[in-house]
């Protein structure tokens, strides 16, 4: 990646300067290690990551007329990762050429992400911020909306999904794209994603998810439409126990990903 990796420059939104590094390392070393350990507490997310990355890459490459398998398929695109966590999605998308901004409500997590990106030499602008606040900044003329917004496994955790989608709608530029990943609200997802993953397999801490907040694809489509976004595609994501890996499939009963576009500005 050396050739494609930009030198870490401190953008206006990048975390604390290099002087804070030592203290930061001490404070967040454990947290960072757990975010980035593929065998650690976030193992399920690490296993899920390749299929999510492939979906994001392929849909965005398709949307912007790029060759998905080519070098740096997202080169030059401005991209916002909402609920970026430790940067598991933001860093790969940066390596694929995108100019990435990552926001997360948890300040400690954002510090972890910023530290890891700096160590990896990746120029990613991280901020501890809610999408509503960033949307307000954009509306006030401070910063432009993004070519694309991704928000994976976030909407099922937010208190007001409609306000969340409204903010995303304002953060995608007209003609831009949105990629979401979430959990469907079905009997199957109650059994597998809630009871199975939290109580039986112990993949996730009990209480990670509230099944009642899961969003069905049709609810998602209606919510997106209210805020100027058109749902283009829904794809199921299913687990294969034999290979301990995830793949895209027609079955969207539990995990699914969605691709939507923001209509071009009305009246030109």
């Amino acid at each position: 990646m050396a050739a494609r990796r930009a030198t870490a420059t401190e953008g206006p939104h990048a975390g604390p300067g290099p002087t804070a590094d030592a203290a930061e390392v001490a404070r967040f070393a454990d947290l960072a290690a757990s975010w980035w350990d593929p065998r650690g507490p976030l193992r399920p997310l690490h296993r899920l990551n390749p299929v999510r990355l492939r979906y994001v890459r392929d849909r965005l490459a398709g949307h912007f007329g790029r060759e998905a398998e080519g070098p740096a398929p997202l080169a030059g695109l401005s991209l916002l990762d909402v609920g970026c966590g430790g940067g598991l999605i933001a860093e790969p998308l940066c390596r694929l050429g995108a100019r990435v901004t990552g926001i997360d409500a948890a300040a400690a997590t954002v510090a972890v992400a910023a530290l890891h990106a700096r160590q990896a030499g990746l120029a990613i602008a991280y901020r501890a911020l809610a999408p509503e606040d960033l949307a307000a900044e954009v509306a006030a003329g401070s910063g432009a909306p993004f070519d694309a917004v991704v928000s994976l496994e976030v909407i099922e955790h937010v208190a007001e999904p409609d306000a969340f989608l409204a903010a995303l709608g304002r953060l995608v530029r007209p003609g831009g794209a949105l990629v979401l990943a979430t959990l469907n609200r079905t009997l199957k997802s109650l059994l597998l994603a809630k009871i199975g993953a939290e109580y039986v397999l112990r993949w996730l801490p009990v209480g990670t998810h509230d099944w009642r907040r899961f969003v069905t694809p049709s609810e998602l489509g209606e919510g997106l439409a209210r805020h100027g976004l058109r749902l283009r595609e829904v794809s199921g994501v299913v687990y294969s126990p034999m290979t301990d890996s995830w793949r895209l499939a027609g079955d969207a009963d539990v995990n699914y990903m969605a691709y939507a576009v923001r209509e071009a500005a009305p009246g030109g």
């Binding site: 990646m1 050396a2 350990d37 890459r57 790969p92 890891h116 990896a120 290979t243 301990d244």
Partner: protein, 427 residues
């Protein structure tokens, strides 16, 4: 353990690559080419200068390049450099026997296993290629690749693996930064030891004498493997009326055979070889290889992967060592190229674990098979002789079983990486 490396904490290393491969032998050089062809920036480090690796005395062996391995070399553009000197293997004949003149009777058991390529199609079972030709072809392609940074001769003094990158410290003071360090330096892998990965290993009480012979009559592409009491004796057809000999002998006696005068050595050779190809003459150059078994407990760690003999060393009875190494190479290359296409960190254990998972079964199967076959055959116990002769006869009699063994030996069975099917990887 070597002294811990002391890479500087902050300054960027002067040299950089995405993948640093330590060891420019058959596995390491092939991996470098596979990755470079897919667009990766690679550093290939070896302690020996490239010119020395291709000297006639450096490696006297010949390799049975399986059909899958040949497809890999073809997909990487190496095969055209080898095709002229490669001897197709049309048949493999396996038999049980004793040297002539031992205990009153000798010769070859009438029960034997017979693999004939015509049973599976037009393609040969594999190709015999001299290792110096392989090394020459691979290193020539490596030298022609702009994406491969060659560091040779260069000694690795330390490997430090951090959360975001690895650093390789060279003995001459230079430093190389990379997302991933691959150990491809063979059984005594420095990279493996740097990570303190435990190994299961033992020495066989055998050594392999390797030489090349010329014989009068054509071999018609038939490879012979005879299970003599001291160990397998292989006659492997080379281009022309030549054959590569792998003569497994008791370790305490092998040194003595190696030191014999030319006529004495040839006499011992003929006792085992027989006269079915007419008079036999040994060419200059005899090599002795101690034989051992080795299995690393893990073939990956964060920012570290092992391929080939660095991860597993096996008895040469089936001639599979390098083919297994190339299967590692093809699988690792495919995993890395796919991960890079998704923007993933190539040193991430989640990426590398996919490589380990893909290879584990095949490697264990081949290690167990080669160890078991050698133990079963390298003796002269009456009941065992009878049982194994019946076993060979039984495998030979059952067509599907024989064809499965053949496909396994040809390297075209199982869940194959794309390169082994002759397909390119990467953008």
């Amino acid at each position: 353990m070597p002294a811990a490396p002391r890479p500087s904490a902050s300054a960027a290393p002067a040299l950089a690559a995405e993948v640093a491969i330590v060891g420019a032998g058959l596995a390491g050089a092939t991996l470098a080419l596979a990755l470079a062809r897919a667009g990766l920036a690679v550093a290939l480090i070896d302690r020996a200068p490239p010119a020395r690796q291709t000297l006639p005395g450096f490696d006297g062996r010949a390799s049975a390049v399986s059909l899958g391995s040949k497809r890999l070399l073809a997909a990487l553009g190496v095969w055209p450099r080898l095709a002229g000197g490669a001897q197709p293997i049309a048949e493999i004949r396996v038999s049980d026997g004793r040297p002539e003149g031992v205990a009153g009777w000798g010769g070859v058991s009438p029960l034997f296993l017979h693999y004939d390529h015509r049973e599976l199609g037009e393609e040969p079972l594999g190709f015999m290629v001299e290792n110096r030709h392989l090394r020459h072809a691979l290193l020539a392609e490596v030298a022609a690749s702009e994406r491969i940074l060659r560091l040779a001769p260069a000694e690795v003094a330390g490997v430090a693996r951090g959360p975001a990158a690895a650093r390789v410290a060279l003995a001459d003071g230079r430093e190389l930064g990379a997302a991933l360090v691959v150990g491809a330096e063979g059984r005594d892998s420095f990279v493996r030891r740097s990570a303190a990965i435990p190994v299961t290993t033992w020495s066989y009480p055998q050594a392999a004498i390797v030489c090349t012979v010329v014989h009068e009559r054509p071999h018609r592409g038939i490879a012979h493997e005879r299970f003599l009491p001291a160990g397998p004796f292989a006659i492997l057809p080379l281009s022309g009326n030549r054959a590569s000999i792998v003569w497994t002998e008791r370790a305490d006696l092998a040194e003595g055979f190696l030191g014999l005068s030319q006529p004495e050595f040839e006499a011992e050779l003929v006792r085992r070889f027989g006269d079915f190809l007419g008079p036999v003459r040994a060419l200059e150059g005899r090599w002795l290889y101690p034989l051992s078994f080795l299995l690393a407990a893990r073939s990956v760690e964060p920012r570290l992967a092992l391929v080939g003999d660095a991860a597993h060393g096996m008895h040469p009875v089936a001639g599979q060592g390098i083919n297994i190494g190339w299967r590692d190479v093809a699988a690792l290359a495919e995993v890395l190229v796919e991960a890079r296409g998704l923007g993933r960190d190539l040193g991430d254990l989640g990426v590398l674990a996919d490589y380990e998972r893909w290879r584990r079964f095949d490697v264990l199967l081949m290690l167990a098979a080669t160890d078991g076959i050698n133990r079963l055959f390298s003796n002269d116990l009456g009941p065992l002789r009878l049982a194994r002769d019946l076993g060979l006869g039984a495998v030979n009699a059952v067509g599907p079983l024989r064809r499965l063994f053949m496909r396994q030996a040809m390297g075209v069975a199982g869940d194959l990486p794309r390169l082994l099917r002759g397909e390119p990887i990467g953008p």
